[in-house]
C-alpha cells in the first residue's frame, strides 16, 4: 500500500501555548509572582490555596497584557470576557477546578506569519501563515515534584507558589507541518511576547506547550508536558514517527492524551478516561463578566514595532544582510543594543560584531542580552570597535575584550592595557617571524618543497608568540617574504 505516511506530507500540528505574564501579583489574588528562587508554599494565600470562602478578584494588568498579546497576534478582541471553571481532580489544583475561559475568551481569529523551514533564500520571503484560533487567560496550576519519575514515584510533593500565576493561552489552528516549523513558530512567538514586555523567556517554565498531532488525515493525539522550548522538536518527531509506524503496520491512531517524558524523549499514553465534556465547564460564579472593548484603543497605542517589521527596517535602513537582521531582531534587547551602537558607528561593521561575535559569546555562556548589558554598555562596545577600526587592536584582541567585559566587566581601554592587547609594530612582527622560521626548520622546509599548509602552521606560531596582537594576513606576507 502506498501511503503518504513515509514523507512529511500529511503531518498536521496545532499548538496550545501557555505563556506566563510578568505581572507583579497573581491573576486572582495579590500574592507576589516573584517566586522563582523561593522556598515552596511561601507565595500563597487563601485564594490560590483554594480555601473555602476565599473570593478571587481579577488583576486588571493581566487582562491588559492578554489584550496586548491578542492585538500583536492580529486577533479580533471580543467585547466582553467571562471566566469559567474547568473541573478536574489533580493535586496541582487545590480547588478541584481551574479558572480559565471557554465561551467569551479575550480574542479570536488571529494570524502569525513565519518564515518557512527551508528558509527564504536569495532574499525571497517565503512566509507561512499560521492562524490563531483563540487567545484566552487562565491561572497556572501548582507545581508537582516527583520522587523519581512520574511513573515510578510513590508520591508527589506539591508547591502552590505557581498556583494562580497569570497565563495567556494561545491556540493555533492545525497549520504547522513539521517539528521544525513548530520550533520556528515558537521562536517567533517568544520574540513577539518579549517585545511586548509582558513575558520573560529566561524564567524557568515561562512557556509550556501542548501539541495536537495527526498524520495522513488520521485521528489526532495530544502531547502534553512539553515544558522546554528545546524539547519541542524532539517530542514531536517522536510522536510523528510513532503514528507513522502504526499506520504502516495497518493500525489506527487513537484519539488520546499522551505525556511527554523529557528524560527518555518519548511520549506515553496517559490512559485517561477524561473527555472534553467531563470537564463540566460552567461560568465561574465568583467572577463577574468584564467588558474590555474600552481598553482596546489605548492598548493598541502601546504595541511597539514588532520583530517582523523591525527586521525589514534594519535591512533597508542599515543595509545589512537578512541573516544579520534576523539575529539582531529576535531579542528586543539585542535589537536596541545594536541600534545604539549603529547610531555611533559604521552600521555594517556593528552588525557583524553584534550578531556574529557578541551573540556567539552570549550563546556560549548561556546568558541573555539583558543579563549581559549589566556589564557591557553600547558605549563600551562602540569604544572597542573604534580601537579595532583604527588598528589599535586586532580582530582577536577585539574578541578578547568582549569576552573579558562579559566575564569580568571593565572598560576597553583599561582591558587593552591590562592584557597587553595593543597591536604590535612591524619591527616586532619581523622579529617574531624570524624567530619562528629559525625554530621550525622542518615546517619551513615543507613549505619550500610545496606543502602550502605549512604556512598556516607558521602563521599560527607567530600569532602565538605575539599573543594575537598581529594581523594574520600581515604575518602571512612577512613569512612568505622571509622564507
Amino acid at each position: 500500500m502506498k501511503s503518504e505516511s513515509t514523507n512529511t506530507n500529511g503531518v498536521k500540528i496545532g499548538l496550545e501555548c501557555h505563556a506566563q505574564l510578568i505581572t507583579k501579583s497573581k491573576l486572582f489574588c495579590p500574592c507576589s509572582t516573584d517566586y522563582h528562587n523561593s522556598e515552596p508554599n511561601t507565595h500563597v494565600c487563601a485564594t490560590c490555596l483554594g480555601l473555602p470562602g476565599a473570593l478571587p478578584v481579577v488583576n486588571e494588568r493581566a487582562i491588559r497584557y492578554g489584550i496586548k498579546v491578542a492585538l500583536a497576534l492580529n486577533c479580533e478582541v471580543q467585547p466582553q470576557i467571562i471566566f469559567y471553571r474547568k473541573n478536574y481532580y489533580y493535586p496541582d489544583l487545590p480547588r478541584g477546578f481551574q479558572i480559565t475561559q471557554y465561551d467569551f475568551p479575550i480574542a479570536l481569529n488571529g494570524l502569525v506569519q513565519i518564515e518557512s523551514a527551508s528558509g527564504g533564500d536569495g532574499g525571497r520571503e517565503r512566509g507561512i501563515r499560521i492562524r490563531i484560533r483563540r487567545v484566552h487567560m487562565e491561572e497556572d496550576p501548582g507545581r508537582l515534584v516527583y520522587k523519581g519519575t512520574i511513573d515510578t514515584a510513590k508520591y508527589s510533593l506539591v508547591d502552590y507558589n505557581r498556583s494562580g500565576i497569570p497565563l495567556v493561552e494561545i491556540v493555533t489552528e492545525p497549520d504547522l507541518r513539521s517539528p521544525k516549523e513548530v520550533r520556528i513558530f515558537l521562536g517567533e512567538l517568544r520574540s513577539i511576547l518579549g517585545y511586548l514586555s509582558v513575558f520573560d523567556g529566561d524564567l524557568e517554565g515561562a512557556m509550556r506547550v501542548d501539541a495536537n498531532i495527526s498524520v495522513g488525515g488520521g485521528e489526532r493525539a495530544e502531547v502534553k508536558n512539553i515544558s522546554s522550548y528545546k524539547d519541542v522538536e524532539r517530542a514531536l518527531s517522536f510522536e510523528i514517527t510513532r503514528q507513522k509506524n502504526l499506520v504502516r503496520r495497518g493500525l489506527k491512531v487513537t484519539l488520546e492524551t499522551r505525556h511527554y517524558d523529557e528524560v527518555r524523549g518519548i511520549t506515553l499514553s496517559m490512559r485517561t478516561k477524561e473527555f472534553e465534556h467531563d470537564y463540566r465547564y460552567f461560568p465561574e460564579p465568583d467572577l463577574v463578566p468584564i467588558r474590555i472593548s474600552d481598553m482596546v484603543s489605548e492598548i493598541k497605542g502601546e504595541i511597539p514595532e514588532l520583530p517582523d517589521e523591525k527586521k525589514r527596517r534594519f535591512v533597508s535602513q542599515y543595509s545589512i544582510a537578512r541573516e544579520h537582521a534576523n539575529t539582531l531582531t529576535y531579542d528586543i534587547n539585542i535589537a536596541d543594543f545594536y541600534e545604539e551602537v549603529a547610531s555611533k558607528m559604521d552600521a555594517g561593521l556593528s552588525a557583524v560584531w553584534v550578531a556574529d561575535v557578541l551573540k556567539g559569546e552570549l550563546n556560549y555562556r548561556g546568558i541573555s542580552m539583558r543579563e549581559a548589558s549589566k556589564r557591557v554598555s553600547a558605549d563600551d562596545f562602540v569604544a572597542m570597535l573604534r580601537y579595532f577600526k583604527k588598528g589599535v587592536i586586532t580582530e582577536r584582541g577585539a574578541t578578547e575584550i568582549i569576552r573579558e567585559m562579559l566575564d569580568h566587566g571593565g572598560k576597553p581601554d583599561e582591558i587593552i592595557k591590562r592584557k597587553g592587547l595593543a597591536s604590535i609594530g612591524s619591527a616586532e612582527i619581523e622579529k617574531a617571524v624570524l624567530e619562528v622560521i629559525k625554530e621550525n626548520e622542518n615546517a619551513v622546509e615543507d613549505y619550500r618543497t610545496g606543502k602550502k599548509e605549512a604556512l598556516h602552521f607558521l602563521v599560527g606560531q607567530v600569532m602565538r608568540k605575539t599573543r594575537g596582537r598581529a594581523n594574520p594576513k600581515d604575518v602571512s606576507k612577512w613569512i612568505e617574504e622571509k622564507i
Binding site: K24, Y155, M270, P289
Partner: protein, 93 residues
Amino acid sequence: MIRKEEIEHIGWLARIELSDAEKELFEKQLSSILDYFAVLDELDTEDVEPTYHVIGIKDVVREDEPKEALSQSEVLRNAPKKEKGYFKSPRML
C-alpha cells in the same frame, strides 16, 4: 434514568470510591434530580438570553499590587501530610 456506569464514571472524576450501596443510592438521587431538570426543559426559552451570571454586576477588577502572603507554617497547618515545606500527595497518573 441514569445508568450505573455513569455513576461510576462520576465517582472516578471526583476520585472517590463508591460502595455498591452508595452507587444504588446515588443512582436514585441523581435520577430524580435529572427528572426535575426534564421538567424545566419543557419551558420554551427560544427568545430568552442565556444567563451567564445572576448578580448583574460587571467589570470588577483590582490593581496589580502585591500583598504579603501567608507564612509557610500557616499554609501547611491543615495539611494531613507534608514534607520539607511541600504538601505530600498520592501519585496520580
